[in-house]
Amino acid sequence: MTRAQMLILGVITLGLILVPVLAANNFTIKLFSRLLIFALAASSLNLVLGYGGMVSFGHAAYFGVGGYVVGILTVSGIASPFITWTLAVLLCALLAALIGAISLRTRGVYFIMITLAFAQMLFFVFVSLRQYGGADGLPIRPPDPLRDGRTLYYIILVTLGICLFLLWRIKESRFGRAVQAIKENESRMMALGYPVFRYQLVCFIIGGALAGLAGVLNANLNAFISPNALAWSQSGQFMMMVILGGVGRFWGGALGAVVFILLETWLGSLTIHWQLGVGAALLIIVLFAPGGLVGLVSSANAWLIKRRAAA
């Protein structure tokens, strides 16, 4: 990272730490909590999709299952976050291992569709679980400390920080480089002696586990979980966030999530036809900014540097 980037990161971090202090009301804190949670979820998909090149259209499955593990355990009387969170993340990792092992047999669009298929199956499973709310969803009563919006916000912030740091290290590690190179040229990686399948699977599992963690936070924040959390439209939304921010760019997931949610919230407050604006924004991004927002920022930056050099 350059000095300037460190500075920007520092300022943003400081700002995020101060949010609960400066926030006028709970609504703002909740909005920021949401931003951070979706930043984590989108970043986890960016690992799978952006770095690993695996276009998973079922990423919401882990997001939802993570939430349901917390929900079901809590209503069954096991509320300790240490137990519920750990179990949720482990279960999501296991689920990702299972889904990934089968889906990675296929490529391209077939991969997109088979990951979607698994997510849809889980969606309908939760719809049918009448004792856990079925299609209406399940209200959760989070344990005491987590019910305070500010405490939860800080927990979410720290979790996101840790996960992003983890992802940052992974990106530059041997594993991260191998996974990115597989995306670039799979056959050559095979010829170099890499067990390609194993790398992709592990990447898929890490992504699933982190999405599960985001789902856990989300369920706690809303004190509620419903099958909508793992609907295909939610998976699609995660994908939109990543593409919007910049596929395979480190901050792409986080930035995409933040911009997407803010855009949605802002347009939603202006007009009931806000989806028109979101749709147009997506279209414009694709047609005119193929690298996503991060790509846009870095090319603007490059342009500035060039101009300054010329001057």
Partner: protein, 250 residues
């Protein structure tokens, strides 16, 4: 001399087309064995089966006495097999050094390491630089592979195969598409490599083949029709009619 690579009764069909037809071939340790044959004879298909990316329908492939017919590609690499591609297949968006470091990393223990930045692993980069030097790309280390000249990309192609420190190197038309200068450099490179490697060389350039090869096998319609010393192959009437034809008679 014992056979390092030994292929028996290999078959591969693509629909109605028999690309490998009861193919038998042995490559002895230490030799440079050339595989020649007309376009579409099934040379690349055979290389693919040896490397493990194409599954044969039947038959057996042994490396140093071990049956590798059904091993996945990465296991074969670990046993000392490496290949290059007929159509250049490198990481175009990566620098020469990054390309080679990926290869070195693959051999250097496993890569399920999630924490330490690769940049800090000096020995990976040292070895990558060494290989760049060896294939004549020492001064081009930091250039993106996609920006290299065609001949240089072919050199990188060979360099990538060398990163796994193979015992047996499969070269699929390393001279393809090269000008005279580039080809000369590549022939020199291959000559240097053969000092400590066994090589199976697929090549259409007959001058290069007859300069380099200890033995030659001729593949026609998926079947080896002749195998032997260069002079014997040149004199073989079957080979002349099937393949060398005009070139030799002229």
């Amino acid at each position: 001399m014992s056979a390092l690579l030994d292929i028996q009764g290999l078959f591969k069909r693509f629909g109605g087309l028999v690309a490998t037809n009861d193919c038998a071939l042995d490559v002895r340790a230490g030799e440079l064995h050339a595989l020649i044959g007309p376009n579409g004879a099934g040379k690349t298909t055979l290389i693919g089966q040896i490397a493990g990316v194409i599954k044969p329908d039947s038959g057996r492939i042994r490396l140093d006495g071990v049956n590798i017919t059904y091993l996945p590609p990465h296991r074969r690499v670990r046993m000392g097999l490496a290949r290059t591609y007929q159509i250049t297949n490198v990481f175009k968006k990566y620098s020469v050094l990054d390309n080679l470091a990926l290869g070195v990393q693959a051999r250097d223990g496993h890569s399920f390491r999630f924490w330490r930045p690769v940049r800090a692993e000096r020995h990976l980069w040292d070895q990558a630089a060494e290989i760049a030097e060896r294939v004549g790309l020492g001064v081009r280390q930091d250039v993106l592979a996609g920006a290299l000249a065609h001949g240089e990309q072919r050199q990188l192609e060979v360099g990538l195969a060398l990163t796994s420190r193979p015992r047996l190197l499969l070269l699929d038309e390393p001279l393809a598409g090269m000008g005279a200068d580039e080809a000369g450099r590549m022939v020199d490179l291959i000559r240097r490599l053969r000092a400590d490697l066994t090589i199976l060389l697929v090549e259409h350039d007959m001058d290069a083949v007859f300069q380099l090869a200890d033995r030659i096998s001729v593949l026609v319609y998926g079947r080896i029709i002749a195998s032997g010393a260069p002079e014997a192959i040149r004199a073989n009437p079957d080979v002349q009619t099937a393949y060398l034809g005009d070139e030799v008679r002229a």
